[in-house]
């Protein structure tokens, strides 16, 4: 209770200048507690889950919470990353701060009914905590993710053919497309010049579309869709 008063008081008095990691992939391991193989396995799992039209689950480990209570750090991070879809609000953040031995599951507004505060607390206390206490970070994270998925899956049960998220095509700005079309129509001048320009632009566009994968193995990008959070979830430590 007092911790929460402290949280509120600090919200009033502190100007937070905490650095948040960048959202590059479904598993952002700033604290470096996962091996690169463990990380890529969990990444493909979560990426595939999102691609199937279901929740955007994010794992992040941080080196420091910067003196912020984990609840405050978590809400600022999800407001920055905007996990989940704008209309569906189906983002979930699994935040781990190994140096503070603290963790939190932050649940998006759309999933609060499926992954309740009580369930989040149980996942952290009963499933993840024993594994983390033994230093088994990868196993603990995998167990947590597994239970999160099991909790939110029923939300999508009525949707047998969920709309898969686009493969994150790199966006070509509209003005560039218009410019290209104009070039092609009014290329004018000598044939040779037009051919060169057209070729150069086409090459540039293909390069832009050629999957600026944010992480190895994926062709598409990974970013938040504007989902909302209102503070649901649970925190724990080990």
């Amino acid at each position: 209770m007092l911790a929460l008063f402290g949280l509120f008081f600090s919200l009033l008095t502190q100007a937070t200048a905490v650095q948040f990691p960048a959202l590059t992939s479904p598993v952002v391991d700033e604290a470096g507690i996962l091996s690169s193989q463990e990380r890529t396995e969990i990444e493909s799992w979560l990426y595939g889950y999102r691609q199937s039209g279901r929740a955007q689950i994010q794992v992040v480990t941080v080196k420091t919470l910067g003196d912020l209570p984990i609840e405050q750090y978590s809400i600022e991070l999800v407001e920055k990353w905007k996990l989940g879809g704008q209309k569906t609000d189906d983002g979930v953040l699994f935040l781990i701060a190994p140096n503070d031995r603290a963790m939190r599951i932050e649940v998006g507004q759309g999933l609060e009914g499926a992954l309740t505060d009580v369930q989040a607390k149980r996942i952290l206390d009963d499933r993840v905590r024993p594994l983390f206490k033994e230093g088994k970070y990868a196993l603990g994270i995998a167990a947590g993710v597994h239970d999160i998925i099991r909790a939110v899956d029923p939300e999508y049960a009525n949707n047998p053919n969920p709309v898969p998220q686009g493969r994150g095509k790199a966006k070509v700005p509209t003005w560039l497309v218009i410019l290209m079309i104009l070039f092609l129509i009014f290329g004018g001048g000598s044939r040779r010049r037009r051919g060169f320009l057209g070729g150069a632009l086409a090459g540039g566009m293909m390069g832009g579309l050629g999957g600026r994968g944010g992480f190895g193995g994926g062709g598409g990008g990974w970013s938040g869709g504007g989902g909302g959070f209102s503070g649901g979830g649970a925190s724990s430590n080990w």
């Binding site: 007092l2 949280l7 509120f8 919200l11 309740t116 505060d117 989040a120 503070g231 649901g232």
Partner: protein, 193 residues
């Protein structure tokens, strides 16, 4: 020509804010409604909590009574976000602050009953209470932001000119802690081992 230019500029400047001022006001009302929503959510958890604790800590009648009464007073005061005066908000906050204090005492007392702490129902209720308190904190933070945005609309030109011409909204007072909560927050927490 110059007249046209001047009148166009005037029109443009006063056009700023025609939409955004009422939108900002509506946003503050929505934010306040969300705050009261979360407080209500907390109040709804309490009867269950009281009966669970009673099962293990029959002798803590005084503390339990305190919570029941604080809850009753808090739920009696309702806020209509569209017509809330600063005094209404103060009264509401004070009642909620007293409920927070009573709940705090109850949780401290519960620490002394290992069987209660081990009870699965009690653990679930604790998780729900913590989640609700977090939601309350975040709802209040967002209310403060909404009030700030509105006040900026109303005091900063050019939207402030539109306000003086058409809407005549006063600046809203910023949200503040109730006196109980202030006293508690300013007192250093009692650490007992």
């Amino acid at each position: 020509m110059r007249l046209i230019l001047i009148s166009l500029t005037a029109l443009f400047l006063t056009g700023c804010g025609i939409q955004s001022i009422p939108q900002a006001k509506n946003a503050t009302e929505a934010a306040l409604a969300e705050v009261t929503n979360q407080y209500k959510r907390r109040a709804d958890l309490i009867p269950n909590l009281v009966s669970t604790v009673k099962g293990y800590a029959k002798h803590e009648q005084e503390t339990l009574e305190g919570v029941i009464q604080a809850r009753a007073s808090a739920t009696q005061i309702t806020l209509d976000p569209t017509k809330t005066t600063p005094e209404d908000l103060q009264k509401y906050q004070a009642a909620q602050g007293q409920l927070s204090a009573a709940l705090g005492r109850l949780m401290v007392v519960s620490e002394q009953y290992p069987n209660l702490k081990a009870d699965a129902n009690f653990r679930d209720l604790q998780a729900q209470l913590e989640g609700t308190e977090n939601r309350i904190t975040i709802a209040r933070q967002r209310y403060i932001e909404a009030v700030n945005l509105f006040n900026n609309q109303v005091t900063v030109p050019p939207t402030s000119w539109t306000n003086s011409l058409f809407y005549h909204h006063a600046k809203m007072p910023q949200w503040d802690l109730s006196p109980d909560e202030k006293a508690k927050a300013e007192k250093a927490p009692d650490v007992q081992f």
